[in-house]
């Protein structure tokens, strides 16, 4: 035995004759996994506490006369675990026969068929025959709508309690309960009320069988139809990882992907069921030029030339400062970087933004708190409701910090007085202050009070859109260049640009859509109609598309390759899940092409990877972010 074996925190467990070293307190199930021995489980789940109700993981341990549940037994030093004995095999077979006793065996119509643990284990460990006629099965309710999102099939349930435990332990909402006793036990909503949780979409994923299924995904595809692309949720800037499952050219579902540092394996319903937005029918498919006449579809190179010519004539007639550039927080880092290059280096205008509100009084403390570090704070203060409303998965992290680590979580409204808010976190040595971008002023005041009282304070600011943070980091702001280098001349922010369009101060607008951050708070239609020249790059028929003189088709986030930066500064990769049905280069290529036509001194790279290299050179904190690490904010100026 090596030195490691004698160290106090590691013990040796022998699994099927194979010794493995695991930390003290490890469950036998985890020890088996480490030894490379698969133990089938239904009730056990990595994110939930053990209950040992399904009895599927029973193994032989040492000289104990009865089988023990691997998922709930803590390993001890020298413990001998046997998983392949005749006794275990016989037990698994019998257990599966019990589980399948009243199972309807309607796999062909079940949405889980093909990715179902009950199917897999029945094939691998099951008896392969039945002693009971299918006509004698006890029947329960099928296709019970628990809400507009979740469908419950009580017949298929194997009573592993994962769903009820998920509600108890992960969200704390307790909306599902077990009713009746014995063979009549069913999972049902509490008092028959429809589910209202923001996190219901995780239920079908924790369910090991097809009892809980997505209403949105119902009968839309089979697992073998799907192509899976790891990506980042486009719902908000929290940065949850997910898998985009596509069938042919359609995004059929978002499936969660466990990233413990960010989402901890969960998604919120707004993010998960937002996949339908990627299949919108009102897509812009070809470039269109409508300058002084009816719209004409043309090749993208001609459309870019037409746009550049029109833009150049506005510049020569009215001057560079009469041109504005409006990005969107839905852009990738690469697009944002090229867009600000186009605005500043090629067009030469200071008016560039991606959102409505000005972003001033910047401090590096703004994003000093990582999502993972929330659990390490003694006290956490959430300022304003908007933070959790924008990034719901944050709520699960806060509940975990409360429940698992006993942290103090306080929530204050956004219009509270700063001193009053700071009293909620008084006395804590390590404080986390979380707010939405909208409430960052108050959050900064609260943090200042806490710092003055001697606490170490970390702040997390939830930004707008999926890549609001990246747009800011990469200088899609009127007052900062990439890396938060202050500009000599401060241009108009988003609202100022739109007002300038109406007043005639801005004569030409280059806009990238869609921009929900802008659409929510301004009369975009009127501004777009008023401006003399509007060049729009947009994937959907939004306000920009309606009024544009030149339209270039954009791509949705499922059709893009690149990186996005989450609120905490994690630079994560998005990949092409669906190939776009347009013969037009990506936005990066379009913007670079536009720059070349406008006579850029130095051409911009057209490949996202090459742009990312430039970003890493231009913004030092992005240099070390390869592989999904956080951009170190302290180093930014």
């Amino acid at each position: 035995m090596t030195d490691v074996a004698r160290s106090p925190e590691l013990i040796t467990v022998i699994v099927d004759g194979r010794p493995v070293q695991v930390p003290v307190g490890t469950l036998v199930w985890d020890a088996c996994e480490k030894a490379g021995v698969f133990v089938p489980v239904y009730c056990a789940h990595k994110k939930l506490d053990p209950v040992a109700v399904c009895r599927m993981c029973l193994v032989e341990i040492g000289t104990l006369p009865k089988l023990q549940p691997a998922c709930a037994t803590v390993a001890s030093d020298g413990m001998e675990v046997r998983t392949r004995t005749e006794k275990v095999r016989e037990f698994r077979e019998g257990n599966l026969e019990f589980l399948l006793l009243n199972h309807p065996l309607d796999c062909p119509v079940c949405d889980r068929g093909g990715e179902c643990d009950l199917q897999d284990f029945a094939l691998r460990y099951g008896p392969g025959r039945t002693r009971r006629a299918i006509t004698t099965k006890v029947h329960f309710n099928k296709a019970v709508r628990l809400s507009d999102k979740i469908v419950l099939d009580q017949e298929r349930c194997i009573l592993c309690w994962r769903c009820t435990r998920y509600y108890d332990e992960v969200t704390g909402e307790k909306e599902l309960v077990l009713q009746e006793r014995g063979v009549h036990t069913v999972v049902a909503p509490f008092e028959g009320r429809p589910l209202q949780s923001m996190f219901q979409g995780n239920l079908p994923e924790v369910c090991p069988v097809g009892a809980l299924t997505h209403a949105q995904y119902r009968f839309r595809a089979r697992p073998w139809d799907l192509r899976r692309t790891p990506s980042v949720c486009p719902g908000c800037s929290y940065g949850c990882n997910l898998n985009i499952d596509t069938r042919e050219t359609e995004v059929v579902r978002f499936a969660s992907s466990d990233k413990p540092e960010v989402d901890d394996g969960w998604l919120c319903d707004r993010g998960r069921y937002g996949s339908g937005d990627l299949n919108r029918a009102d897509r812009v498919r070809s470039p269109e030029v409508r300058l002084g006449g009816p719209g004409r579809s043309m090749a993208y190179s001609e459309a870019i030339e037409a746009a550049a010519t029109a833009l150049a004539s506005v510049i020569s007639e009215h001057g560079r400062e009469r041109v504005a550039v409006l990005g969107t927080p839905l852009m990738t880092n690469e697009e944002a970087f090229v867009l600000q290059w186009l605005a500043r280096e090629v067009i030469g205008t200071p008016h560039v933004d991606h959102q409505l509100l000005p972003w001033t009084d910047l401090s590096p403390a703004e994003f000093s708190l990582g999502i993972e570090e929330i659990e390490a704070c003694d006290a956490i203060l959430v300022v304003g409701e908007q933070a959790e409303a924008t990034a719901p998965v944050l709520t699960l992290r806060l509940y975990k910090a409360e429940r698992k680590s006993g942290r103090r979580v306080s929530r204050v409204p956004g219009d509270i007085e700063a001193g009053e808010a700071a009293r909620r976190i008084a006395g804590a040595s390590r404080v986390g202050v979380i707010s939405h971008e909208r409430d960052r002023g108050l959050a900064a005041q609260v943090a200042a009070i806490a710092v003055a009282s001697g606490a170490s304070v970390g702040r997390l600011t939830i930004t707008v859109g999926v890549n609001g943070r990246g747009c800011k980091d990469l200088g899609l702001l009127p007052n900062y260049r990439p890396g938060y280098v202050a500009t000599a001349e401060v241009g108009l922010h988003g609202r100022g640009i739109l007002e300038g369009c109406q007043s005639g101060e801005i004569r030409a607008l280059l806009a990238v859509g869609p921009n929900p951050a802008v659409e929510a708070g301004a009369d975009l239609d009127r501004a777009c109609a008023a401006v003399q020249l509007l060049i729009a790059i947009t994937p959907v028929r939004d306000a920009f598309w309606r009024h544009a003189g030149v339209v270039l088709p954009g791509r949705t986030i499922a059709e893009k390759a690149g990186t996005v930066t989450s609120s905490e500064g994690r630079v994560q990769t998005v990949r092409i899940a669906v190939h776009p049905n347009i013969a037009v280069p990506s936005e990066v290529g379009l913007l670079a092409g536009l720059g070349a036509c406008l006579g850029a001194a130095r051409p911009a790279p057209t490949a996202p990877a090459a742009v990312l290299e430039e970003i890493r050179t231009a913004v030092p904190s992005y240099a070390a972010t390869a592989g999904g690490l956080r951009a170190a904010w302290g180093k930014l100026r």
Partner: protein, 196 residues
Amino acid sequence: MFRELLGGLRATARAMASRPITIQYPEEQRPVPPRARGRHILHRYDNGLEKCIGCELCAGACPVGCIYVQAAANDPAHPVSPGERYAVRYEINLMRCIYCGYCTEACPTEAITMGPRLDLVDYKRERLIATKDDLLEAWSGFTTMSQGVAPGLGRPASQPTPMGAGSPHSGPAGRAPGLRPVIPAASGDPADTPPA
């Protein structure tokens, strides 16, 4: 030499006396063996409900990937198939199909079988993608009812396709039914009846 000549003439004379084995295809057609693996048929139950439940096991079993199925949820008031699920689109690319019959073996409800129809030719490739309209077995209920609702089906007879399926993807309209193969009299199985 003389003997060989006689032998040849004898063969000719014998052939002249027998009936010709050539037939005037396509006006005449040979009987198709009962287990021939021709173009697929999607079957119905006696009450007109489709046997296919849209489970896609046929598509999963297909070695060449020529079957496309899109399922949807049944409206309980107007079901298309028994149970929760039915196939709203069912398409087979007959040019890619190798007629191996794995789909029929995979089918849990015996909804799909290989039929007797072998004359799979057309002037346009897209017509050789068989849609559900092409594949689905005819049901006497549609022709016997002039109007009203089919028993057990719940759809007005004015709608000839009860599946509501493939309306944007339906088979080529006005396509000539083509010649029907002659089914040997031995086969009394209604499943072997070619689609109308």
